[in-house]
């Protein structure tokens, strides 16, 4: 799962430490997504959108292509002014959970 990082050299301890902090942030984002799933109107407003935008850029860079793709698709919908569907949030929740709890 490190395709974006290991093209020039193997992942090292520094990347592993940063990845650990990314996983911690995934726990925070997971809580935001779950909160959004319970809201009927635009979920979370600007803070939610900012978190999804950052998640899209970071997840892909860490090599989590599925999570990055789901977040990027949701980011694009929010930019267009569309609210996310429950199914989209549910898929993002599952992908975040998988990354956040990965060893």
């Amino acid at each position: 799962m490190t395709a974006s990082l290991d093209s020039e050299r193997p992942a090292n301890d520094l990347f592993a430490a940063i990845r650990g902090r990314f996983q911690s942030r995934c726990h925070r984002d997971l809580a935001l997504v779950r909160k959004a799933m319970t809201e009927r109107d635009t979920p979370g407003g600007g803070d939610f959108h900012t978190a999804i935008h950052k998640l899209a850029g970071l997840a892909g860079t860490f090599g989590y292509a599925r999570l990055g793709g789901l977040a990027a698709a949701l980011d694009a919908r929010l930019v267009a002014g569309d609210g996310p569907s429950y199914d989209e949030l549910r898929m993002l929740e599952a992908a975040l959970e998988q990354v956040a709890t990965a060893p």
């Binding site: 974006s4 970071l58 997840a59």
Partner: protein, 140 residues
């Protein structure tokens, strides 16, 4: 000449002053790790702080995020380009925004390159080396 020598090779990488500007501290950490071939790196988490650091010590290259809260990267680049000492410093935008209109606006603001997130380390290194090489050719 091997592509990896663009920009002057290892000695140049040790000398080059890089300035990384992104409002996400985790992205700054990640970019710094990807660019650890370049030991002289400074970082800023806002457009205003980036401008201040660039004025204090003009870098050889600036990596500039676009989506930042106080002053976005495009606005920051316009400010940098208005400063004689910084007008020719290569600027590579790094953005999560894949819209063509944003990329065009970034180039119009004076950007030299535009990389979209997710960032690939090999591609990032290559484009940094190319911009450093061009900067040196222009100053020579």
């Amino acid at each position: 000449m091997p592509r990896s020598d663009i920009g002057g090779g290892k000695a140049s990488e040790l000398d080059a002053q890089l300035l990384l500007v992104d409002d996400d501290p985790l992205m700054i950490e990640l970019l710094s790790a990807m660019l650890d071939h370049f030991p002289n790196r400074r970082t800023a988490t806002s457009g205003m702080e980036g401008i201040r650091l660039a004025r204090e010590l003009p870098p050889d290259l600036i990596l500039l995020d676009i989506g930042m809260p106080d002053l976005d990267g495009i606005g920051a680049c316009e400010v940098l380009r208005s400063q004689p000492a910084l007008a020719s410093v290569p600027v590579i935008f790094i953005s999560g925004n894949h819209n063509t209109s944003t990329a065009v606006a970034a180039f119009r603001a004076g950007g030299n390159d535009y990389i979209t997130k997710p960032v690939n380390q090999a591609l990032l290194l290559q484009r940094v080396r190319e911009q450093l090489g061009r900067g040196r050719e222009e100053r020579a």
